[in-house]
């Protein structure tokens, strides 16, 4: 059983509450009419299947119902990080120990949500 940190609920939850949703960071071709059949086919059907560090989308289906990203090692099942949609991973195949600090943006240094609401 995996224990997964939901970046929106900001706590660890049981795997039972989540569903994996495939490879993360897939970008739709900006101008579908202008791209080749191969590019469109890659976008629609072809997915990476790496041995080691992989970036995946998961959804907190029984919880906040938000999608988020997971960096997971497909060999050890270790989850290296989870991060909100729209952000970039800290751990990659190139930097399995984490990107150097100068390559991280402000959001990654200090993750915070929900600013501006008073209790």
């Amino acid at each position: 059983m995996l224990h997964i940190y939901c970046p929106y609920c900001e706590e660890l939850r049981e795997e039972e509450e989540f569903h994996p949703k495939g490879q993360a960071h897939i970008t739709r071709p900006a101008d579908p009419d202008a791209c080749s059949d191969e590019e469109w086919g890659d976008y629609l059907f072809f997915r990476d299947n790496p041995r080691g560090i992989h970036h995946e989308m998961w959804v907190h289906a029984i919880g906040c119902r938000k999608f988020f990203n997971v960096t997971r090692n497909t060999v050890t099942y270790e989850i290296l990080e989870t991060y909100p949609m729209g952000e970039q991973p800290r751990f990659t195949a190139e930097y399995p120990e984490g990107k150097p600090a100068d390559q991280l943006n402000d959001a990654q240094q200090e993750p915070s949500r929900q600013e501006g609401v008073h209790v």
Binding site: Y8, C9, E10, E11, R13, E14, E16, E17, I62, G63, C64, R65, K66, R113, Q114, G116, V117, H118, V119
Partner: protein, 220 residues
């Protein structure tokens, strides 16, 4: 509100009272269960007691935290919970707002107030980008009390309900008996379960079964 029996237009949106006054009495999602499964009484031996708070007003708010918080503050007198998995209540405990996701909150008010609450919020929100859905007909609320209430929950959900991990004022959506519900703790000795209509009978029967060893009783 019972005086509004037909659709009212507010800010170009049709608003319907999901519980208009009609000849057919409105019934809680558990009405069928009480009839078919029954409701064991509360006795001296009961270490867990269930009490349904039927027919409350349940309203789901979606939108930006800041703009919704302002409107709720204006209409209800208290704000939305700012932190994930938390619950705010008015001093009487009759009205509450719970965080469900970064852009979604569940507001529960006494039955009959939900329709005017929606109208007032729409007025306060004006042209803001938001959604308000009255889900009162789709769910119900169960209170769980008694010394064995935490034990009963531990049998039913993988979520950590130990007081250290689940303080008063916390509320989560989680797995419960292979189904799911909203679990919250508004007071030291009281838990609340918000059940969806389609799961209500199953969960009610699960609770009775799991609570048998604690001589569970249904308070009505």
């Amino acid at each position: 509100m019972s005086e509004h029996t037909s659709a009212t237009t507010a800010t170009g949106i049709n608003m319907y009272d999901v519980r208009p006054t009609t000849e057919v009495p409105a019934e809680s999602p558990l009405a069928w269960s009480y009839h078919h499964t029954g409701h064991p009484g509360v006795s001296q031996r009961s270490r867990v007691v269930i009490r349904e708070r039927a027919m409350l007003g349940h309203v789901v708010l979606r939108g930006g935290a800041i703009v919704l918080d302002e409107a709720v503050r204006q209409v209800l007198g208290f704000g939305l919970p700012a932190r994930p998995n938390t619950l705010n209540q008015d001093p009487s405990g009759e009205r509450s707002a719970q965080w469900l996701s970064p852009d979604e909150w569940l507001v529960i008010v006494p039955g009959g107030e939900e329709f005017s609450l929606e109208a007032k919020l729409r007025e306060a929100l004006g042209d803001a980008h938001y959604a308000i859905v009255n889900v009162s007909g789709g769910q119900t609320l169960l209170e769980l009390e008694g010394e064995a209430a935490t034990e009963l929950l531990m049998k039913s959900t993988p979520y950590d309900v130990h007081p250290a991990g689940f303080p008063v004022g916390k509320g989560v959506t989680t797995v419960f008996a292979k189904s799911n519900l909203i679990l919250r703790r508004p007071a030291e000795d009281r838990w609340e379960l918000v059940l969806r209509r389609s799961f209500a009978d199953y969960l009610y029967r699960w609770l009775l079964d799991a609570g048998q060893e604690y001589a569970i009783g249904v308070d009505d």
